[in-house]
C-alpha cells in the first residue's frame, strides 16, 4: 500500500502518491439466516405447502411490476402482454411443483378436460386458497374455454382509471396459466383476461354483485385440438 506506515496511526498526505487506500472489507451478507443455517433452498418442497404470504406484500410487489410496465408501454394491450410474459415462467415451474406436491401419485394431465380441472382446482387453490368459480366451454369456437373468477385476488387493491378501463391486471395470472398449459404439452394460442362486461345479457346480474368478475379465455392451439380429437376417436 503506497505511503502507509503501519506504525504511524496518523495518515499523512504528502502528495497524491501517498494517499492511503483503505483495504476492501470482505463481503458480509446482511441477510438473516436461522440459527441452523438452513435457507429456503434446503427446505423440503412439501413444507411450504401451508405457509401463505401476506396479501399486502404481494400487492406492493405487483404494484411495482405494473408501474414499471405501464411506464414502458404505449397501449393497454402492450401492458397486458408484458404482464402475461411476466407470469409465464411461473406457470412452467408451477406445473411440476404442484404435481409433485399432490398427495396421490399424480400424472401430468394429457386430456384437455383434465388439464382444465387441474387449473380450476389445484392451481387456484395453490395460488389463492380457493378454487375458481366456473369452467365453461365456448359455444362458438371449439378450441376456446373459459375460467371465471368472481374476484381475482391479484386485483384486490387495484382500481383501473377510466382512460384504461380495458386493462385487467389479472393478465399476470393468465400468463401463469399459459405457461402451465405450454409446459403440460398443450401449445396455446394464448390466454387472456377480460372483464365480464355488461354486453352479456345473462351476466348482467352477476357483475352487480361482483364488479371485478374476470373471465380467463384459454385458446388451445391446432396441434392440441387435433391430438384431443385423435384420442377421442381412438376411444381414449
Amino acid at each position: 500500500m503506497p505511503g502507509v506506515n503501519a506504525a504511524a496511526p496518523v495518515l499523512d498526505f504528502d502528495g497524491p502518491s501517498t494517499v492511503p487506500i483503505t483495504p476492501a472489507k470482505p463481503f458480509q451478507s446482511r441477510l438473516r439466516y436461522p440459527s441452523n443455517r438452513k435457507t429456503i433452498y434446503d427446505r423440503h418442497l412439501n413444507r411450504t405447502l401451508t405457509a401463505s404470504t401476506s396479501l399486502p406484500a404481494f400487492a406492493y410487489l405487483f404494484n411495482t411490476i405494473i408501474t414499471y410496465h405501464h411506464a414502458k408501454s404505449g397501449s393497454v394491450n402492450e401492458i397486458e402482454t408484458r404482464l402475461n410474459r411476466a407470469g409465464y415462467p411461473l406457470g412452467i415451474k408451477l406445473l411440476d411443483l404442484l404435481l409433485y406436491r399432490q398427495l396421490r401419485v399424480a400424472t401430468r394431465p394429457t386430456r384437455i378436460l383434465d388439464l382444465l380441472q387441474f387449473i380450476h382446482t389445484t392451481l387456484w387453490r395453490a395460488l389463492f386458497n380457493r378454487p375458481a368459480d366456473a369452467l365453461e366451454q365456448s359455444t362458438t369456437k371449439k378450441n376456446e374455454y373459459m375460467i371465471v373468477d368472481n374476484e381475482p385476488v391479484v386485483n384486490t387493491y387495484i382500481s383501473i382509471p377510466k382512460e384504461m378501463s380495458q386493462l385487467n391486471c389479472a393478465a399476470f395470472v393468465a400468463g401463469i396459466m399459459e405457461g402451465l398449459c405450454d409446459a403440460a404439452g398443450f401449445g396455446m394460442e394464448g390466454v387472456s383476461a377480460h372483464w365480464a362486461s355488461a354486453s352479456e345479457g345473462q351476466e348482467g346480474k352477476g357483475e352487480e354483485m361482483w364488479p371485478g368478475k374476470t373471465i380467463f379465455l384459454l385458446r388451445f392451439g391446432e396441434v392440441a385440438m387435433q391430438r384431443e380429437e385423435g384420442i377421442k376417436a381412438a376411444g381414449g
Partner: protein, 188 residues
C-alpha cells in the same frame, strides 16, 4: 364552540367539565366557511370527509348524509386551504406541552388542531405521519370519531396507496376507495 388541540397520537388533555356546551344550544354557532346545517338527521351520522395533502391542497371530499347544504367545489378548496393554514398556526402557538416520546420511538409530530366542536357538528382532524390530514365532519353526539377517522385512514392506505395508478399528492379518483368508504360510512 370549543377547540381542542392535543398531541397527535399521544395522550389527550384531561377532559374538563363543559357546561358551556349545553348553554350554547340556545344560540347556535355556525362555522361560516362550512355552511353545514342539519335538517332532521339522526344523531349518529357522519356528514363529510375531506383529505388534504401535504401542501394544503384538497385531494378528496365527499358528503355522506342526505339533506346537507350543498357547497360548490371552490368552497371546499377554500375550506381545505384555510384549515391547513390554521392548523399550521395552531401548531406553533399551541399551549400544550410537548410530550416526551417513549425511548426508542421517534418524536411524534407536534400538535395542531385535533377537533373542533359546535352545537351542530364536530370536526375531527387526523394527521398522518406523512403530513396528510383527514378531516371528518360528524354530528356532535357521534362517539368514537377517533376510531372512525382511523378506519378511514386504513381504507385510504388499502385502496389508494396500494393502487398502482394513483400518483402521490394528486386528487384521489379511485373507485374502490369510494366504494369501501361508502360501505363503511353511509347508513342505509
Amino acid at each position: 364552540m370549543q377547540v381542542r388541540t392535543g398531541v397527535c397520537g399521544g395522550a389527550r388533555q384531561p377532559e374538563a367539565s363543559h357546561p358551556n356546551r349545553y348553554r350554547r344550544r340556545a344560540s347556535p354557532v355556525r362555522l361560516h366557511a362550512t355552511g353545514l346545517r342539519v335538517s332532521e338527521v339522526a344523531a349518529m351520522v357522519v356528514f363529510a370527509l375531506l383529505i388534504i395533502n401535504k401542501a394544503g391542497g384538497l385531494i378528496f371530499n365527499r358528503t355522506f348524509a342526505p339533506g346537507l347544504q350543498k357547497l360548490d367545489s371552490n368552497d371546499y378548496l377554500i375550506l381545505a386551504g384555510t384549515f391547513h393554514g390554521i392548523h399550521a398556526i395552531s401548531r406553533t402557538i399551541s399551549p400544550a406541552p410537548p410530550v416526551q416520546p417513549l425511548p426508542g420511538n421517534r418524536r411524534p409530530p407536534t400538535t395542531g388542531i385535533e377537533s373542533m366542536e359546535s352545537s351542530h357538528f364536530r370536526l375531527t382532524c387526523f394527521q398522518t405521519p406523512t403530513g396528510v390530514k383527514f378531516l371528518l365532519f360528524t354530528s356532535p353526539e357521534q362517539p368514537n370519531t377517533d376510531a372512525v377517522v382511523r378506519r378511514c385512514y386504513e381504507i385510504y392506505g388499502e385502496f389508494v396507496m396500494k393502487n398502482p395508478f394513483y400518483s402521490l399528492e394528486m386528487p384521489v379518483r379511485v373507485e374502490k376507495f369510494d366504494r369501501a368508504l361508502g360501505a363503511y360510512l353511509v347508513r342505509p
